[in-house]
Symmetry: C2
Subunit: 431 residues, 2 copies
Amino acid sequence: MTTVTDATVTDLRFPTSRELDGSDAMNPDPDYSAAYLRLATSDAESAGHGFVFTIGRGNDIQAAAVEAVARRLVGRDVDGLVEDPGAVNRDLMWDSQLRWLGPDKGVMHMAIGAVMSATWDLRARREGRPLWSTLAALEPAELVALVDWTYIADYLDPGRAREILEERRPLRDARIAGLRRDGLAAYTTSPGWLGYSDEKLVRLCREAVADGFTTIKLKVGADTGDDRRRLGLAREAVGPDVALAVDANQHWSVPEAIAAITELRDFGLRWVEEPTHPDDVVGHATIANAVRPVPIATGEMLASPTLAKQLLQLGGVQILQIDATRMGGPHDLLAAILMATGAGVEVIPHAGGVGLCEAVQHYAFFNAVCVAADTRDLSLEYVAHLHEHLTDPVEITNGRYRLPTRPGASTEFQPGTELTFGYPDGTEWAG
Amino acid sequence: MTTVTDATVTDLRFPTSRELDGSDAMNPDPDYSAAYLRLATSDAESAGHGFVFTIGRGNDIQAAAVEAVARRLVGRDVDGLVEDPGAVNRDLMWDSQLRWLGPDKGVMHMAIGAVMSATWDLRARREGRPLWSTLAALEPAELVALVDWTYIADYLDPGRAREILEERRPLRDARIAGLRRDGLAAYTTSPGWLGYSDEKLVRLCREAVADGFTTIKLKVGADTGDDRRRLGLAREAVGPDVALAVDANQHWSVPEAIAAITELRDFGLRWVEEPTHPDDVVGHATIANAVRPVPIATGEMLASPTLAKQLLQLGGVQILQIDATRMGGPHDLLAAILMATGAGVEVIPHAGGVGLCEAVQHYAFFNAVCVAADTRDLSLEYVAHLHEHLTDPVEITNGRYRLPTRPGASTEFQPGTELTFGYPDGTEWAG
């Protein structure tokens, strides 16, 4: 019998604030970080990896929470864990004492997400498949059974979810072949950080087009005049055929969002991201109604399927940007993807940070294979930094993600990363 | 100059699960706990106390978060802190790296709340007043300036909030005199825990009436047949003139809530509490519309003013049950109280647990003195356990809270509590 023998959690921090990579209207100085979990087993070849992405301070608290949850798996039989991850998910999510600390949000919720991600990484590795393929191999009824429907079945009936999955089933193999050949479109945020100079913005926009990207996202929100100038420069640099999206990172109140988007809309925005507080579903609906047909997008701070449900119910989002480590793990993400498809809303995952591209690509590909009604316009975010720290970094060719082929969830960090970027003792931080 | 010299955080846990005190449909075995902060200063007479209430596991993570936030106040000048707590609140709430871990929800948010509560306790003690009086002494403009209006001004204009406070101002002194004489009505949940036998329920209901309580709350949700039986027994025990409220502790989905409330409504319910997931504002509105005029109540897990705003916007609550340690501290609570009053919605605080009655009574009295349009029907929850662990326990006379008179926020635990209930080394837990 193979058992989980240890749960090791590492506080990894990358000093991204030094170069203003990742700077936006709300996050002027992020140090991209990961509370990184490694589940070791009695089989030296079998391990599971998961993490929560944070932006610096507090990563120690997040790491402590991941460790407290993960410790509960130590000693468990690995076969039992990976055969019924739904049971593990229920045990953790419905532990009433832990649930009090959310519910379904914040540090404890993300910690459960990291543990469930590591459990799925372990399962996919033992199957010898990439995670997207492990999910795509499940029958519709099995996928539906992974979701906790308690608070969302009033919006999407589990029977209807199964029907959707059955309808897509005959397309699966052809879709996989197409994705293996063509990959999935990436859009890039790398040129558009708020801390960059105009010169750097223009240069990076041109490079992005040359690299094959067809959508570029700019950070906005601090000053609408500046935003118009930067959008004008970007439009000039990329030409008429490349789409421009903007991201306000919650900088606006509801009326401010409506006013600003109205001023920016003549740039033909592909979407406006995080216009206001992520929990303000009524506010998102008010904004979306006022600026229609400009699509509103959010998700990187959307904590739960319960909140996603309401955004869809009220028409507050036209693009749902699931994030690999914000919700409570694979089961929540599956719920969100199914609800979005049921509502005819695009799923364009959030990525960037460190490890988020690697982790979320599996859900984007799974969506493209098994869930989405139409795969032609699907894409996901790409930011060009820190990939070297992962053992299975994303591959981008001509502005498109290649289909992952290696076993697991691509959530393992390089073994040496801790020595350099472990906080506070790694060589980058000590002294 | 007086400075903050230390921030000590203690993990206090009380083994309430052994007697099923506090058992409900979602929390079968809570161990009432507090992540308890003591801010020491260079003046031995001056200290500040705050805590986050939890129900057991995870209290260590909550304590670590409180400590991480509180450490930032060590070394600060106390006069500066207490003169401008709004600045402290902004610094902590808008620390972009910490904000990522919420935003405005979960472990990190509640940690900020405990630190801000301790700051206000320190201020009230230095003024020699109970906290409600410290707040009531502020001018309307000062109170309005304490609130972070970023995401809520689209619902309640700060100018309108000030007008409301100005309108109540002439009533203040007479209201204080009345509350000093009569106190504020308590309602009791002590008879109604789900784990109690019918015999115990009936006996405790009779005792509650004899003790002067005019509203009694029963836990429901696990089984509607049982709920009807228990409500019938309670009605028989208390007679026709005592109000009965019920609390489902989020046990229902939206359609289940509508069905169950419809079956229970002939008991003339004073309110139905936490019918479903606390973040489902759309669901609360759907339920409230379907069961009108049965009032819907929620709040003990309502994380932020942004969520409270939406419940009010959509008519999802008729009673807002603010909780002393769930939101991010006094500034968030003030926002919630002002929005509720602006909407004509009753504020009936949640309490119980350990220390929650002591902490929240100050906001209930402040609301009664400065904010509420009408004080006749105001009340707050009372649960009759664990008060002996606080240095300034609530006083209940004939079913009514007495107006607190001792300096501070009533948030200090007895010095000896840690020796007995500190986790895991206190005598109750060790071995």
